[in-house]
């Protein structure tokens, strides 16, 4: 079984590399001179999608070998859930790709999937047993449908982002330019997190503090990055480790805040470096890629993915969720933060559909809504688990 678990990790690694290669081919399909249209048959894109399919098969291999090794669907902690989400994102991309043959989607969807897998890998990766509340077939049913729904909805973000990159006139400046640049900066922050976490983990950095928590009990906390902020009445117990001694309020999870500060710091440095070297806005760097993109097509793809994803998300995130909650927690709804954020996601996309259908919010506005929707999904996926404690806080 331990061997199977290690095969599983290798397969995930292979999938990661293949997605990376496929991205290059999709980028090639956009740049190639012979193909002026952005859809239809194209040799570069054919190779790109083939590699993507092999990568996806490899990730499926990761998923099922890990399932066999652990005896339960590997969607039970943050690492497993986020990698599964990335896999669904690739699946959703493949489906939408085969409907529209829109090559440029691959250039953006695959890197986002890559970044998601990299992000997931920063959390503990060992196979963990299931606590009683999770021992149910509904774990696999509920979680996989939620992830699939969120992934399909995320494709609308990918389409929206490409739309905005082409649509917004960067030379004019203004609010839209600022926010577009902010979205890209947000993505760079994730890179910043992955980079700093990887560097310190390779270097084997670790330190421990004792501190007094919000319930006034003494506790120990581990830091995996040098402490820029320390917990309430925190005392460093690892010799030779770094600490600024800057104490935080007991309600603040100082170790997580520390990670956030590092990620933002590294992210800002990365961003400034890119700007300094290229002497352009980050959004401007992407413009050669999107030059030939067809706005109408992107708008259509964005809307279609919301239409396809919304029912799937509703089924998994609300209906299956309620059924399981009734079985496991005695009530179908209990206003747990994760439940509330699923409701918020649902309401948001309902508003999206109404605005689009009845108030003609198409094109630019629709693209912005898709971006906001993705931010809400990411918030629920990541932040609610890490910041707001509730019944769902695994990992």
């Amino acid at each position: 079984m331990a061997q199977l678990a290690s095969i599983s990790s290798t397969l995930l690694y292979i999938a990661f590399l293949l997605y990376l290669v496929a991205t290059v081919f999709f980028a090639g399909s956009i740049k190639s001179k012979k193909h002026t249209n952005q859809t239809g048959k194209n040799r570069w894109a054919t190779i790109g999608i083939t590699i993507t399919l092999i990568g996806f098969a490899s990730q499926l291999g990761y998923f099922f070998t890990r399932w066999i090794a652990s005896g339960h669907a590997p969607v039970s902690n943050l690492f497993e859930f986020i990698t599964f989400f990335a896999m669904m994102l690739v699946a959703a991309f493949i489906i939408i790709y085969f409907i529209y043959r829109l090559h440029i989607l691959g250039v953006f969807a695959l890197p986002i999937a890559l970044l998601t897998i990299a992000y997931a890998s920063m959390f503990p990766r060992d196979v963990s047993p299931l606590i009683p509340a999770l021992q149910s077939d509904w774990l696999a049913i509920h979680v996989s449908t939620v992830a699939a729904g969120e992934a399909i909805l995320s494709v609308s973000f990918v389409a929206g982002l490409i739309f905005l990159l082409k649509d917004i006139d960067l030379s004019k400046g203004g609010k839209q330019v600022f926010w577009l640049e902010s979205v890209l900066f947000g993505i760079i922050l994730v890179v910043g997190f992955v980079l700093s976490a990887t560097v310190f983990s390779v270097a084997g950095y670790e330190s421990e503090f004792t501190f007094i928590n919000a319930d006034e009990a003494e506790t120990v906390v581990q830091y995996s990055m040098p402490a820029l902020v320390t917990p309430n009445e925190g005392e460093l117990i690892t010799e030779g480790a770094f600490s600024t001694g800057l104490e935080m309020h007991p309600l603040v999870n100082a170790s997580r805040l520390n990670t956030v500060i590092w990620s933002i710091g590294v992210g800002i440095i990365l961003y400034l470096l890119i700007r300094l070297i290229s002497r352009r806005k980050v959004a401007a760097l992407f413009q050669p890629l999107v030059k030939k993109a067809n706005l109408d097509m992107l708008d259509e793809v964005g809307y279609r993915s919301v239409l396809i994803g919304f029912p799937v998300f509703t089924l998994g995130g609300l209906i299956f969720a309620m059924i399981w909650a009734q079985i496991a927690w005695t009530r179908f709804w209990g206003w747990d933060p994760k439940e509330v954020w699923a409701l918020i996601t649902f309401l948001f996309y309902a508003a999206f559909l109404h605005l689009r259908l009845s108030r003609g919010w198409e094109g630019n506005r629709s693209a912005w809504l898709a971006v906001i929707g993705f931010v809400i999904i990411m918030f629920n996926l990541v932040a609610v688990n890490l910041i707001i404690a509730g019944l769902h806080s695994y990992a």
Binding site: V127, S136, I308, T314, L347, N364
Partner: protein, 560 residues
Amino acid sequence: MSKLICKCGHVNPEGSELCQACGRTLTEKAAKRKTNDVMRYEGMARRSQTYHASVIDKVWNFFSSVKVGVWLIVITLVASAIGTIFPQEFFIPQNIPAIEYYEDRYGIAGKIYYVLGFHDLYGSWWYMLLVAAIGTSIIIASLDRGIPLYKALKKQRVERHDSFLKRQRIYSAYEAKGSLDTLNRLSEGLKKRRYKVRVENGSLLAEKNQFSRWGPYINHTGLIIFLIGAMLRFVPGMYVDEMLWIREGETQIIPGTDQEYLLKNEGFTLETYQEGDSEVFDETIQRTGAIAKNFQTDAILYKKDENAIAGSTDNITEVDHHAIQVNVPMKFDQFALYQTDYIEDELYKMSFTMDSKETGEPVGSFTVDLFDPNTSGVYELNDGYAVEISGYYPDFSGFDDGEPQSVSPLPNNPAFLFNMISPEHPDGEVAFVAIQQNLEPLGENDYEISFNGIETRDISGLTVRKDLTLWILALGGAIFMFGVIVGSYWNHRRIWIKTDADSHLYAAGHTNKNWYGLKKDIAPAFEYAGLDQPDDHQELKESKGNAKEEDESGTTREHK
């Protein structure tokens, strides 16, 4: 009431935008609006667009507006998000008043949160009001649109005026193609794609998936049923939420069941994963420590016989016997029992020895059942030794005026006043014994009592739930899901073809969404008829991030 008489002679009700017979635009205003917007409800008169005078009109118009509906949804969404910043009242420790808890823990922000009522957001009157307003809005908006839409789609004419065709997004005019043969070929091609085709007077109407237009109305109905179900929760008798704390070995009446059912706890088990259970888990267990594997109450369910006396546990019949686990409730009648909590190792029995201080040897031992101590009788030991309990303080908290106090009847911290009888002291010597405490209130004794072990047992916390609203919620949810799927995965597509005496052929197409799909769908039929694909006069041009411009440029575009 004024009527709108079309050039074709058809009389349309006031408020119509398109003539229901020929499809001509009836008003200046309608001519200026986006084709898509006019087509959404087939140019039918809608109450909200027609009447504005009375109060009822105003209320109706308010709730039927999608703008208002979206605002209501967005406000609810934002309020819900704020409600997750700090924990809700029902998640905080119940032993501290909420006002103090929020202020102590979260400072001024917590106080504001409390004062504004966000601590109990979902039970607050204004949150309920928002949900009620959304419900009202859904009903009114659906009636306002659904009824006219139904009427329009039921009695569609095949032949439409040129101007109607011209303003469609998919539209082309073909010279010298207007033959019967072409029309037949188109008809054949579209039928292959499962369009329902009607041909009249050289005109053709092909239509498919009209049912998908009812998707939103079906899903809104589902939502309303769901909301009604959620409200029924407050009707007495529909909902039971009780907690049953039951010790191992005990039999108790299940609260909420009208004393009809009883439960016996045969034993509670808590299992954790052990290293070596499965080698793949070892790393996690080493990292995080013990991980729970199973919480289980082995339970026997009894039903009281018809003639049994209220409150007694006699005359009962076993109905069910199985383990209650997390995710595996015990269901009976309309109830379900869930494993939700437990207390491990509550003190159950305490054993003592009575020792001679002189020899240090015990002269006898006895065991006290902390739930049923022998306070009136005597624990007989051997050879003339005995112990009497003259005072029992199950939850000892200290002395008040020299009197030992107990704060509850639960044996959390048991203390005893013993009278030790021995051959030397037939009247006994008094000893006060508590955990970690031994007092001799009436002077130095020759004997003493010492602890000699305890017996504990677990208490299982079971939630008793009855919820008669579940089937309504399930019905609403199912209808909602069905409606969303119908409206999202199918699209209503229509093609109008018209030929005239000069052999012109006009082709127009409309779909409520997914234009790309429509074009792909009809392409083979046009190819088969030897026609070029009709043009797509896309309404969305490159907008350069300027949403306002795009709004205006979206009005009906004349086809050159």
